[in-house]
């Protein structure tokens, strides 16, 4: 069982809609994630229309990630 599912809330799971359609976009995000501190895990669902970026972090905010991806030319918005 995933340890996160045993916890009471999911505020540490940050979800975003992105336009990371290509493999090279995913590679670019990978680079960004590697440079950040406080990312416990992350992935992009390349099978989904929204190319959902999912980040596990207890310290980073949605806005911080949105700004970061925007700065690198990607559309990124909180998935609600």
């Amino acid at each position: 069982m995933n340890i996160y599912l045993l916890m009471k809330n999911f505020n540490h799971i940050l979800l975003f809609k992105t336009n990371c359609f290509k493999k090279r976009d995913k590679a670019a995000v990978k680079k960004l994630m590697a440079q950040l501190t406080g990312v416990e895990d992350w992935n992009i669902d390349m099978d989904d229309d929204d190319r959902v970026l999912r980040i596990i972090s207890r310290t980073l905010s949605h806005q911080y990630i949105i700004n970061l991806l925007n700065q690198h030319g990607y559309q990124c918005g909180e998935l609600t």
Partner: protein, 196 residues
Amino acid sequence: MRTRDVDKENLVKQKAIETIVKHGMEGFSMNKLARECSISVATLYIYYKDRDDLILKIAEEEGLRMAETMVDSFDPEMVFEDGLRVQWKNRYRHMMANPFIGVFFDQLRTSSYHAKFMESFKGNFEPIVTKFMRNALERGEINEMPFEAYWSVAFAPLYSLIRFHNEGHSIGGKPFKMSDKILWATFDLVVKALKN
């Protein structure tokens, strides 16, 4: 604050299986599933990392549930006919209560999820069933035969009947509804074929 909701999780699992069975693995997406469940896509991504993660977790869970049901009240030391009867009863009960599950397992079998799915499914279940077959062999109740031949005679007839029932018709479109009478008459034929 987002919190865990077991009812919602069960709905997601049930709808995911139903959607995959109806529309196939290829057309299945988190967006479609969220719509089917009338929940937000974000909620799905709370529970599952991505589409693969969702399919695999549900497959593993369902495989485990099926494996547990199969060995319910079953003992590998049972006399062959009695043991096989219990296995038929368990499989029958589980598949009638979960009409999509048989097709879902078939779809998994022909997908890239196959290996991982079988891993979780076989672990609990295979040693017990293998032991049962070996015991029957040692007691001279059945003859030695390839496992695949055994399985095909022992269980394929049951799955075939359940499939006819789920589809509502048998060969040539003839209407069909399963009954205990047909089930156990078929079982008797299977026992006749396998037992010395």
